[in-house]
């Protein structure tokens, strides 16, 4: 690379109270280069992104634009300088349409400054075509799945035709097809001279998209180096600072009786005739493309959505439709996909969030026992290696991956007999991912039935005893562990199955 980097950080430090999120970190982004940022949960990646985006100002150190020091006083400055950012958590306005969100503040105009809706919808449609996404620009953003929200954020960033594109875990909720489409679009941008910063906990994606990688550990810079010549294990070692064992250790467990039985479950226009069972000790994966209806099935089974026909029973007892409380009583737990809206109450503390699923069991007489509440939180925080300062801190200040751990803790603490997990490792780093997998395997070993929705194919293949594949609201395949391969799953997921 010749010349000054398009955008760079020089010796940047940033603290939040006692937490030192970035310590003397430097990073250079060059035109025509895709740069990866790797690190465990809480390593400081999102903080670095927000510093580039003008959301945070560095305590010490500088931001450099084309080699010249600049001060971004806010996100507007960074946008002005040609920096487009996809944040880790989608931040769409729910009451605006998809297209309005994409062109917020930059709507195409007609005479007298009136918004040209036709042009706006046309542009949005063309963006979605480039990304290969079937989303309607005129639909409201409320109710979009987390993956669709992510895609809208991507379209929004692309529409800025920026010189620097920063992406904080854009693929965390996407499945293979969407990731491939995104990568080909990003690749094209890079060839046109765009500088890219890319964050992902799926290391394969870093290897396939990026030329250079910078690793952070506990806020400190560890290395910046070319990706070529680096192995998967090298990268993990830099992130974690030690060797990791095998990643997907699902052990064969004795299968017990049927714990969850779903019969011809139908919700009109969403999914049709879905039947399956999960036995005690079994991990069943539900695979498929984004929008295939997997999360919707999970939500209906747990009772947060209604169903129109069919039945669900747990341990042989039928479950009433539409009652999460009854489902929990029967031993069901659902770790939902959208942690900001469904998984967590952002304003509440870590311990309150974990306690929320156990308000009954934490009771001593009339009142909640504060010690029991705290012990429950502490116990699970330690088991999941949560990175936190105090249990009374709001979950909102935790890093994305650590928030996900709180959601897991909250549900595992209910000691469920049937555990449904929707993208359980979304945004979780390699080390903890192995830990979550070990935990799921252990839970199955204790006789819990696990239904796992995942867009991460290696995770599906590594963890599942059986793989169910959905396509457009129907089950299209059931594959045993032996038959499940990347190819057979993808074929069924895209509707190409024999």
């Amino acid at each position: 690379m010749s010349g000054a980097p398009t955008l760079a950080l020089a010796n940047v430090s940033k603290s939040f109270g006692a937490v030192r999120a970035l310590r003397d970190v430097s990073l250079e982004l060059f035109a025509g280069e895709a740069h990866a940022l790797a690190g465990e949960n809480g390593a400081g990646k999102s903080t670095l992104v927000k510093t580039l985006a003008g959301v945070h100002r560095p305590d010490t150190g500088q931001v450099l634009l084309n080699g010249e020091p600049v001060v971004f006083t806010g996100p507007a400055d960074a946008q002005q300088a040609g920096v487009a950012v996809i944040y880790q958590e989608p931040t769409l306005f729910p009451d605006l349409s998809v297209a309005e969100n994409i062109f917020m503040g930059r709507q195409p105009r007609r005479t007298l400054g009136r918004i040209d809706r036709k042009e706006m919808h046309g542009q949005a449609r063309r963006l979605f075509e480039r990304l290969g996404v079937a989303l309607d620009p005129e639909q409201p953003s409320r109710g979009l799945s987390i993956a669709d929200q992510q895609l809208v954020e991507i379209a929004k960033a692309l529409s800025r035709e920026a010189r620097v594109l920063v992406m904080d875990e854009p693929t965390a909720a996407l499945s293979g097809n969407e990731v491939a489409r995104l990568f080909s679009v990003v690749e094209a941008l890079r060839e046109h001279g765009c500088a890219i910063l890319f964050i992902s906990h799926r290391l394969d994606e870093i290897f396939s998209l990026c030329q250079r990688v910078t690793t952070l550990r506990d806020g400190a810079w560890i290395a910046s180096e070319p990706v070529a010549g680096l192995t998967h294990d090298d990268l993990v070692r830099r992130m974690v600072g030690r060797e990791l064992g095998t990643l997907y250790p699902k052990e064969a467990a004795e299968l017990g009786e049927v714990a969850l039985q779903v019969d011809r479950l139908t919700r009109e226009g969403v999914f049709t005739d879905v039947s399956f069972q999960v036995r005690r000790g079994e991990i069943v994966a539900l695979a498929g493309l984004v929008g295939a209806g997997r999360s919707e099935v999970a939500r209906a089974v747990f009772g947060v959505d209604r169903w129109d026909a069919g039945s669900v029973s747990v341990a042989g007892r039928p479950l009433p439709a539409g009652s999460p409380t009854a489902a929990m009583g029967a031993g069901l737990a659902l770790v939902p996909e959208d942690r900001r809206q469904q998984g967590l109450v952002m304003e509440l503390s870590i311990e309150r969030n974990i306690g929320l699923t156990g308000l009954g069991s934490l009771r001593r007489g009339v009142t909640i026992s504060r010690t029991a509440e705290r012990d429950r939180a502490k116990d699970w925080a330690v088991r999941l290696q949560l990175k936190f300062a105090r249990l009374s801190d709001g979950v909102g200040v935790l890093s994305g991956g650590n928030q996900q751990k709180v959601v897991l803790a909250k549900w595992l603490a209910t000691k469920p007999s049937v555990l449904i997990v929707d993208e359980p490792t979304r945004g979780i780093d390699v080390g903890t991912k192995a830990e979550v997998h070990r935990l799921l395997s252990e839970l199955a070993g204790q006789g819990i039935a696990v239904l796992m929705i995942s867009s991460d194919l290696p995770e599906v293949l590594g963890m599942a005893d059986r793989v169910l594949v959905m396509h457009e609201g129907r089950l299209t395949a059931e594959l045993s562990r032996a038959d499940a391969t990347e190819e057979s799953v993808m074929n069924a997921a895209t509707g190409r199955a024999a």
């Binding site: 409380t325 469904q342 009339v366």
Partner: protein, 318 residues
Amino acid sequence: MAKVLRWDVLVGALLIAVFAAGSLTSPGFATVDNLSFALGDLGEIALIALAMTMLVVAAEVDLSVASVLGLSSALVGSLWDGGMAIEAIIPIAVLTGAVCGLVNGLLVTRLGLPSLAVTIGTLALYRGLAYVVLGDRAVAQFPPDYTALAVNDVPGTPIPYPIAVFVLLAAAVGVVLHATGFGRALYAIGAQEQAAFFAGIRVKRIKLLLFVISGTVAAFAGVVFTLRYGSARADNGVGIELAVIAAVLLGGVDFDGGKGTLGGVIAGVLLIGLLRNLLMLGDVSTEIQSIVTGLLLIVSVLTPRLVSLVRPALKGSP
């Protein structure tokens, strides 16, 4: 740092400041008699504020409380006029309030309507019903045993009976809000309803219950009001929903739900009470009193936002 600027502490300080200012400027203010009277005058607002606190924490609101109070008063008057025993009238009036709350709650939870809109509607509806029941008449001459209960102090203290009831109820609501699962659920519902629902909390049932409690308490306050003034009228308590909401918001409960403490609300209620009393001692017209209530409402909504804007600037960086 954050603790220093806690809102409920701030309101507590303001309360002391108003008290000090009152004692200095108005000679009749800081006497046991006047303060006891001021407390008594606050009874209905204080009682209703307890129920309102729970509603607002859960991100709902009930604007119909003053009308329920009026309807309850009108019922008491009309039934008493018709010769019914007061022992039977009081439960009927309170039960009617529960039904009013149930209607509010059903409209909000079953039809998914916003409570602001629903209770503006029932604010007009219930007041209208009060006029249907009693017309423009005023009914008086209630049994002295009962009116005495509404006015007199608990023997040996300067605390009027309605305030004693308030203290007991406040203790109960304090425990419920801050130490029970029900309270935990209220804060979760107010802050992120969907996550609360996903956690197995029966959101609709809880909201329905809150509206029923609100209606019941408002009707009970209507009985207290009627006996205290010894006069049942359809227009009793017009507009006090604003004083109640001002007290709750002044107390630091966020109108968007999920935040606030009962301690703060009690400070807010007392603050409103002292101000009303001072204005009354100063012979200030009711128009000005209503202007003051309005200003307080705006200030209490505005100030926490300003504080949260200013606070990061004080700390140096966002």
